[in-house]
Amino acid sequence: MFKPYKTEPFYDEMLKSNGGPRKHYTNFHQILQQFSEEELKEKHETAQLSFLRQGITFTVYNENISTERTMPFDFIPVIIPPRDWKKIEKGMIQRTEALNLFLEDIYHEQNILRDGIIPRELIEENPYYYHQQMQGINIPLKNHIFLAGIDLIRDEQGEYHVLEDNLRNPSGMAYVFQNRFVMRQVYPEFFENHSIHTLEHQMPYMHDAVLSHIPPNSESANSPTAVLLTPGMYNSAYYDHVFLAQQMGIELVEGRDLLVKDKLVYMKTIHGLKRVEIIYRRIDDDYLDPVSFRKDSTLGVPGLLEAYQEGNVAILNGIGNGVADDKAIYAFVPDIIRYYLKEDPIISNVKTYQLREPDQREWVLEHLQELVVKNVGASGGYDMLVGPHASEEQIELFRKKIIEEPHQYIAQPTIKLSRAPSFQNARFYPCHVDLRVFVIRGSETHVLPGGLSRVALKEGSLVVNSSQGGGGKDTWVLKGNGSDPSC
């Protein structure tokens, strides 16, 4: 049976500090009380097995041996009331719009650098800045960001903040759909008396958005051939690729299925070569084309970049987006929003210290045990220091790293990430959560209702990444006009 726990000092998604459920969780809470732990345990096992059977797994490599693992699923959903969602939606549209204008500017006039809003060296020294490959290239719809995954967290007051922008190859969308699928299959009782935004109608938006990126030299602007380019079945996000290709009805291709001839891209079919005009790629920039990027890449397609520069093919997301989503630029996103849109950010950033700045560095080095330090180029929770949980040695190690390469690191206050109850190993306990919101941009911009709620299932842990013991939860956006109070 579910029992309330002490919520402080964190914001709890479900419970108020007096232990009662928030208004938008009242229904759910009531249904939850009707289940015995035995029943829930049984359902939990059914749910995990369902992921395994469907092969919804990611591959973990350990000493060259690959194992298929499922992402643990937790059935207690994150429920978002309409008013909160409206704000998130607006905030995400605003943020991705500004970031896209930024990318277009960086690869063309660079006004933002000329006006001194962003230090020039931050761009020019960025390893993901593909000046040579991208400068002056006109791309369809001037859209660099076809799909963004923006990670949000909530502070102790329940206020949303952006933790990270993912503008290269954000993954996890398939899990949003599968979490809902399994939730409906295994826990149908919980949907009673809830009115939720369905995910059923989302794929057409994504499909339309892909097809709206018609390259300048298209031969078939009415029905361009689009493909999803995957590194293959050994990639950890392979299921994501399969799912999206299948749902959009586009061909799932590997690099070896494509070839470039006379600066046109073709795929190799049983009936010979077929022209490809739009590529939703899930291969990183570096590996895309061994002629223009890493020579040792066997995943890519030789000559692809040239076809792209020529306007013969669209590549989504754009090449060189890494210059806008690394952790050093992150700190400037509020300025980017103000600069291009003349608006204040709707969803704010987490306070970020730039370690390049001597004053800030000085202060950070004195307060390492209170802060989170991140490598600006890393993701997935790697090369990261969580001060309050770190040992003396770890702190000293990061002190050294910061002094050696200050531009490589940023620091943030330890955010008291919100928590939601979870049910694992036959018991309830609160776990920290975040939310990855997916923004789909084509001729129009669309925000997938909800997104992927990631949960750090290790008690007390703040790391939600699936590679490090994180799990997923279904995310419900309640229907309504947005005028109801949120709790």
Partner: protein
């Protein structure tokens, strides 16, 4: 359709079929040997045949040389050996890998059935089975392969993906039938003294290995006349493992893929199929003696293999995918 995807569907299907037919051969053998003592040379020869059918003559020689020709070793070799490319475990694994890279073209149910089956045969992966285990696995293989076929038939559109799956199945069957007949024919010649008894036994085993015993009895007397059996397994138009049935269906499917037209790139495969078809139109199996039959079957088996190769070339398919663990 991408050639790589067509290739995966084709090899998925061939490996599902191979799992099924090799398992049937072993099941029949395990039933047969119940009545014979291990010392009986007859039983020894049976295992030769089983290994030749399910692996190859070279591998059989290899096993003999290394002095491993004992029942328990053979069963494990056929079921779960990593070295044996055609062990059940390897076939199940290769079929799954291929299904995984083409799963956006497969019904979810089919992927689910095969993945579930793969996950459930953990014991096969670990190796070293008891006799009871092996009976259990053989049963599960039978059910899983039949269920997979059911999912294909009941839910797939009769489009290109479906055709490649079916072509894979029929080519695998045609090759297997030719191989089984060839092996049985060779052994029947060798057996000398006990010709009559062995022949009866071997030819019935051939029918059983091809799941044709029941169908054969419906239209033929239960005396195991090699010539009647051969003509049944080679030329019968309605038995789904006869070579003619398989080749006719391969031709029909390719014709569907090509929209009924023969183009410059598909000329060769059509010609090869037609040539093979004529071969057994003209043939009067009943007039050949066993030696001639053996040559004929050799030639025939090679032609079946060639057709598989020409088919792969026609659609830019690649050679069997290496199993990766």
């Amino acid at each position: 359709m991408l050639s790589r995807v067509a290739n995966s569907l084709y090899w998925m299907s061939r490996n599902i079929e191979r799992t099924e037919s090799n398992a049937r051969v072993l099941r029949n053998q395990l039933i047969q040997i119940l009545e014979a003592s291990a010392e009986e040379t007859l039983a020894q020869h049976d295992w030769d045949m089983v290994l030749e059918i399910c692996t190859s003559f070279e591998e059989l020689e290899n096993i003999k040389e290394n002095n491993k020709l004992e029942e328990r070793y053979i069963i494990n070799y056929l079921a779960c050996s990593k070295e044996n490319q055609n062990s059940f475990m390897n076939c199940i694994h290769i079929a799954r890998e291929n299904a995984k890279i083409s799963r956006d073209h497969l019904p979810d149910d089919l992927w689910g059935i095969w993945n579930d089956f793969y996950l459930s045969v953990e014991g096969l992966r670990k190796g070293s089975l008891s006799k009871r285990d092996i009976h259990d696995y053989l049963n599960r293989i039978k059910l899983a392969t039949l269920t997979a076929q059911g999912a294909i038939e009941s839910s797939m559109s009769r489009g290109i993906a479906y055709r490649f799956i079916k072509i894979g199945k029929w080519l695998e069957r045609a090759e297997k039938t030719a191989r089984i007949l060839n092996v049985v024919c060779n052994h029947s010649n060798e057996d000398g003294e006990e010709v009559h008894r062995n022949n009866y036994y071997n030819w019935r085993a051939a029918l059983q290995a091809l799941n044709g015993y029941e169908a054969y009895l419906k239209s033929h007397p239960p005396t195991m006349d090699p010539k009647l059996i051969l003509s049944f397994l080679i030329t019968d138009e309605s038995f789904p493992r006869s070579i003619r049935y398989c080749i006719n269906h391969v031709r029909e499917s390719i014709s569907e893929i090509e929209g009924g037209k023969i183009s410059h790139y598909s000329k060769e495969i059509f010609a090869a199929l037609d040539e093979l078809g004529e071969e057994f139109n003209e043939m009067k199996i009943k007039e050949l003696n066993l030696d001639e039959l053996s040559d004929f079957l050799d030639y025939f088996q090679n032609r079946c293999n060639d057709i598989g190769k020409i088919f792969s070339e026609t659609y830019y398919l690649i050679e069997p995918m290496e199993s990766k663990e």
